[in-house]
Symmetry: C2
Subunit: 137 residues, 2 copies
């Protein structure tokens, strides 16, 4: 039930939250490069869906539910970026991952995550792939 | 310089084009589940960019440039879907690929394509991955 934009906010909020699990509207606005008014609007929506609590002085606290999904979204981003990097993808991977991450189902993400673990545990496969590409040229 | 929507149109037009390289506005509208008026609008834009020619009786002809990019877009779709399927992804892959394909750079697509060839040429790696997942459970 989360839109790509909501996912981006939750991912950023958890990035910005310290150990106590909170950040501020202004920091979110700066980090996502949007106006504080847009952040406030989205914060209201996410608060209605019980992902966070909006408190005085612009403080934003994730709920347990928000913390859980935020951690998943952040991990999904890191793992997709690392998987692409691992097989040799280059360029603005941060940006590419920002755009694809929302469209991968949970089940398929788990498979991609297992596949990354598999490649990390079997480094000879990447050496073999590198050799394969050389031979193709 | 192509938007995701333009890419979807070119991909569909080449799917629908027969050996003579043409299709019709109505068939495009049906296949993309949009109104003929929307198709006409997009056809105009793509014609201005020299990807196709719009002729009488609603006939749409790809130019050599349109044919070339259309073939790339179709191949990109097929390869991304096959790569996901190959490592075990399931569910509505058609839909997932529709949403991610536009955001992968040409260079990184080439790497993913090489990686798929590599996996197809080395089927023991997929067996090893399958075993790896079993052992994890
Ligand atoms: Mn992200
Ligand atoms: Mn497609």
């Amino acid at each position: 039930d989360l839109t790509p934009s909501m996912e981006d906010y939750l991912e950023m909020i958890i990035r910005l939250s310290d150990q106590q699990g909170y950040t501020r509207v202004n920091r979110i606005a700066e980090s996502l490069n949007v106006k504080p008014a847009s952040v406030s609007k989205m914060i209201q929506k996410l608060s209605q869906k019980s992902y966070l609590k909006y408190e005085k002085y612009g403080m934003v606290h994730l709920t347990a539910k928000g913390q859980q999904i935020g951690e998943y979204l952040l991990e999904r981003h890191h793992i997709l970026e690392e998987l692409l990097k691992t097989i040799g993808a280059r360029g603005d991977l941060q940006r590419e991952v920002e755009r694809i991450e929302h469209h991968i189902s949970y089940d398929n993400f788990m498979i991609l995550s297992d596949f990354l673990d598999f490649l990390k545990d079997n480094p000879e496969i990447l050496r073999q792939f590198h050799q394969y590409k050389q031979n193709k040229k």
